[in-house]
Symmetry: C2
Subunit: 415 residues, 2 copies
């Protein structure tokens, strides 16, 4: 059974099918198989196996999963199910950990109007890593990049969104004692010196090659990769000695680390950051990752419970045209977002997940029932999350780190 | 008498002769007349009249000088003598001032190992403007740019140099209540938000056209123009309403304001910064501006008094091969750094300056005597300056503005 295969790569190839997305490539011969994954664009039918080849990362193999098992006592479902499926230097991070050298976690977010369930995937996994490895987390809200890369948003708007999005992050349940959340604009004093050192070793040519920048790219975006990379080395700078850094993030963020941070690290005397990469959670439509730009197919943490129910019940499925046909042919869970929601977030028991899969395939489980059950679970999750999100408002200061602006020595004179 | 002409432009053309410098242009037809003036390079025989044409600035004409006279009660020698000779929107700044709207001054320095007399020219003039117009001064130490643009210097070194160079600045005598000195790395939190907005409106193409950047330019340098431009708008941001900004600086800095700040200002709703441009103080060698890279021809504020004397007495002059010849033909003050030192800094009386000029031309004043007199004055100036520079160490905090780094809300947890 491919789904529960011991080899995540085999599993991978099976669940690939769900990402049949808006391919906008104009050349007909590439339409079927082409896809684009960059920090700003995920488009087409993502072949995760090919991404490993293209990006030059390593698959998370059985050996690594066993090491996790020994060190943590449990294997997170995202590892078991190949949702976190690729890495760089994860074995090295575990070597260091076993030798008594703790690592720091670093991840982040380009703030947006609303957070959806797909955004939570890396955060949930990061929380697991924090707990199991007693790791500090440095979380960057890239309000500047979001502004620099937007046609419409003001910097004031992206800053505001960053503070709003922090509530979602905090609601995931991180340890305030070990979690440091900041915006780029709010923490720039702590980051800029490190970023300048990275920038000095990064030419326009390099940035162009890594990110596809061109002559019309604004100079803020050109500098930004140095800023995003700087957080990899922040724990080392703050502690005064080299600290291994592990970055859990969706695989589209890989170019920052591959092309910039890992290139520059040895020149500055830092460790190269290690990475662990996730796939994208699908949306509720036919193919494509969950995306804020298609709100009807994304479950936002701030959706009303009614909206959640409506969206789940209105989901595309891998079902057949008629009940009769489905009883006869069975459903198609591999291309069904409803099934993948169980897989990503809403059925932790592997045995139960397998039952859903098998019952769908056999025609025993019909889409209506399956969606009803999912809707109930998603509503429960969102409702619970919203409670935690409200509580987060009261404790945000326990997580936020900020430099103080305004010319402190002479502030009174300046205003 | 061209030297004391009422028309600064005529005067200009006369004193042009002293800048006969290392022309490295390889095409023979341009060797004589070519020159390069950029923020990073001043090379060749600078034709200041042509620079006004090339840069599209306006000459400081008699009308503006008369307005200064009415408003300030005196005309600074740098205006009388055409050392500050070009501007953008200076008339607009004076309109605003007359209408009751005060302007802020902004200038800065790329910190280096040592400050020389040439560096002091814009600062001395800035102090005059501060006094006469009761203006706040925002002074930027570009430690980041100096690092980003250097083959050898570490960021820690340029930061240290910035603090050292502040002593020279403070020794000039600015009003601590109205003067705000900062380094880019130390004040980045206050600057970055403004810089991001400027950067968003500045493409690589623009930066390339303005500064001659290319594909090998590092991404820190690419962003830097936004940071340098940001200070133009800092007073407006701090005050919460638009404040006119006047930038006194050597003319090589003009591209920052022309190409970036003035282009972007209307898009962000700020006033365009006005500028007033100085020429370069010559070195003590044959031609060329005073430059730290030719230390034997530059008087540093930290030179020993012995060194000062040695340098002045060893200066190139416009004298003749023999005393007889000089008595007969007269000297050549227009190409003589010794004469120009009187002009720039060491003879405030126009009548006395004219006497020196005439006595040189007539063969009455010989180079040895002329240099002895200058050496005595330069030694006195440097000695006095060094006393003030020592005192500056005690009051640096009255001038320095800094953001506080380190994640203040959670600083204790992070260390």
């Amino acid at each position: 059974m491919a789904l529960l295969s011991q080899n995540p790569l085999v599993f991978l190839l099976v669940i690939n099918g769900d990402f049949v997305a808006k391919v906008q490539d104009s050349s007909p011969e590439t339409k079927e198989n082409s896809f684009v994954v960059t920090p700003w664009l995920v488009e087409g039918k993502v072949d995760y196996g090919k991404l490993i080849e293209q990006f030059g990362t390593s698959p998370i193999n059985q050996e690594i999963i066993e090491r996790f098992s020994k060190l943590t006592g449990e294997i997170h479902i995202y590892l078991r199910r190949g949702i976190f499926y690729s890495h760089r230097d994860l074995d090295w991070i575990l070597d260091k950990y076993e030798a008594g050298e703790k690592f720091a976690l670093y991840t982040g977010r380009g703030p947006s109007g609303r957070v959806h369930l797909g955004h939570l995937i890396p955060w949930i996994f990061t929380k697991y890593l924090q707990e199991k490895f007693d790791a500090e987390l440095y979380f960057e809200m890239t309000d500047d990049e979001k502004y620099l890369n937007s046609q419409k948003l003001s910097l004031e708007q992206t800053e505001k969104m960053a503070f709003d999005n922090m509530l979602d992050l905090i609601a995931v349940g991180f340890d305030p004692k070990k979690t440091f959340i900041f915006t780029d604009t709010g923490y720039i004093k702590s980051l800029y010196g490190i970023a300048a050192k990275i920038a000095k070793h990064t030419t326009f040519s390099t940035a162009k090659a890594v990110f596809g920048f061109d002559n019309s790219t604004n100079i803020g975006m050109l500098f930004f990769p140095a800023l995003q990379a700087s957080v990899c080395f922040l724990p080392s700078v703050l502690k005064g000695h080299n600290v291994p850094c592990l970055i859990p993030a969706a695989i589209d963020q890989d170019p920052y680390w591959r092309g910039i941070a890992r290139e520059v690290a040895p020149k500055l005397g830092f460790y190269k950051p290690a990475q662990i990469h996730s796939k994208f959670m699908p949306g509720l439509g036919q193919g494509g990752k969950m995306s804020s730009s298609e709100p009807e197919t994304a479950i936002f943490t701030t959706d009303s419970i009614k909206e959640v129910e409506k969206k789940v019940l209105g989901s595309f499925t891998g079902g057949r045209a008629t009940v009769e046909e489905q009883r006869k042919l069975g459903g198609q869970p591999d291309i069904c977002p409803v099934y993948h929601y169980y897989n990503f977030m809403f059925e932790e028991e592997d045995g139960e997940l397998k039952r859903i899969y098998d019952d769908c395939k056999s025609g025993k489980l019909l889409c209506g029932d399956c969606k009803m059950m999912l809707a109930s679970r998603v509503k429960g999750f969102v409702s619970d999350f919203q409670t935690k999100r409200e509580k987060a408002k009261e404790i945000i200061d326990e997580f936020l780190v900020e430099d103080i602006a305004g010319g402190v020595r002479k502030r009174s004179d300046m205003h």
